[in-house]
């Protein structure tokens, strides 16, 4: 089978495992002020090497990964309807509402308050409920 050119580096198995553990730690710690050096320690790497290897393995920096996870979590919390924007901001580990809102907007495209209003209008404010992120084409082809 022909070789496919890969844009991301392959690290050895043990390093990959360590990077995955460090990434899991970052993913679990989005609520608290988890420091990147704790994740680097989990990977048994210096902060510099951790940053470089994480980026070359996963395609994004540890900081970007952490931010992305926090914003995904924020979207789910805003959509579930129980919390205010301020509460969500604190829950995902931001102490400043201003930086949370501007980061949210730069990633999601709209400010958090706007997003919450939009979601509630589309899905209705009722609980329990889930956002069904299922492409309609698959659902209509294989669902009922």
């Amino acid at each position: 089978m022909p070789d496919q050119h890969s844009s991301l580096a392959l690290v050895n198995d043990e390093t990959f495992r360590r990077l995955c553990r460090a990434r899991d730690l970052l993913a679990a710690g989005y609520q608290s002020q988890i420091f990147l050096d704790a994740a680097a320690r989990e990977a048994c790497l210096s902060l510099f090497h951790f940053h470089r290897l994480f980026h070359s393995t996963f395609g994004e920096t540890p900081h970007d990964f952490l931010t992305r996870r926090r914003m995904e979590r924020a979207r789910h919390l805003l959509a579930s309807g129980d919390m205010t924007v301020t509460e969500v901001c604190l829950e995902v580990g931001y102490s400043s509402l201003g930086s949370f809102s501007s980061k949210f907007q730069s990633i999601v495209g709209v400010p958090p308050t706007h997003y919450q209003r939009q979601i509630r209008r589309v899905f209705g404010f009722q609980k329990p409920w889930k956002i069904m992120l299922v492409p309609a084409c698959y659902f209509s082809a294989f669902g009922a």
Binding site: D3, Q4, N12, F16, V134, Y138
Partner: protein, 145 residues
């Protein structure tokens, strides 16, 4: 303009068996596992190092809709497709590994069935394995060329 592929589908006959295989034996992560009230289950997984590609583990199922020009999948088609899968008609893709021989041993220990052990090729070291339904994959440790 199409910029990238975000989802790719692997057709399976049982999503619980598929989830156990791809997550517990291949080490993939679940991205989404949502069941709709009508029973349709949206199950996607990703390799740990590639969370921006979602692999849909799609159940082969009859399609109940009427009233269209396109022929729909009938229950007997599901059997036919299952039979073809078992015969190895579907090679769903190539996976990359940093260490083919080591990963081969680990996967074998977990009960993964290989059609071919690691072999030196001009492009790297390649083994071939199959999932519980017959979908087969190349697992290649690429050579720097």
């Amino acid at each position: 303009m199409i910029q990238r592929m975000s989802h790719s589908a692997i057709f399976v006959l049982d999503q619980d068996v598929a989830k156990d295989f791809y997550v517990n034996k291949l080490g993939f992560e679940v991205s989404m596992d949502q069941s709709m009230p009508n029973g349709f289950r949206w199950l996607t997984v990703s390799p740990k190092g590639q969370s921006d590609l979602q692999i849909i583990l799609m159940k082969v199922a009859p399609s109940p809709f009427e009233g269209s020009n396109v022929q729909k999948i009938q229950p007997q088609d599901v059997e036919t497709i299952g039979g073809l899968m078992k015969k190895g008609a579907f090679g769903a893709g190539v996976f990359q590994t940093a260490d083919c021989r080591k990963t081969y041993e680990e996967m074998k220990a977990k009960g993964v069935e290989f059609l071919s052990p690691p072999k030196d090729q001009f492009y790297g070291i390649e083994a071939v394995f199959r999932d519980p339904f017959g979908n087969w994959f190349s697992m290649t440790q690429p050579k720097n060329m």
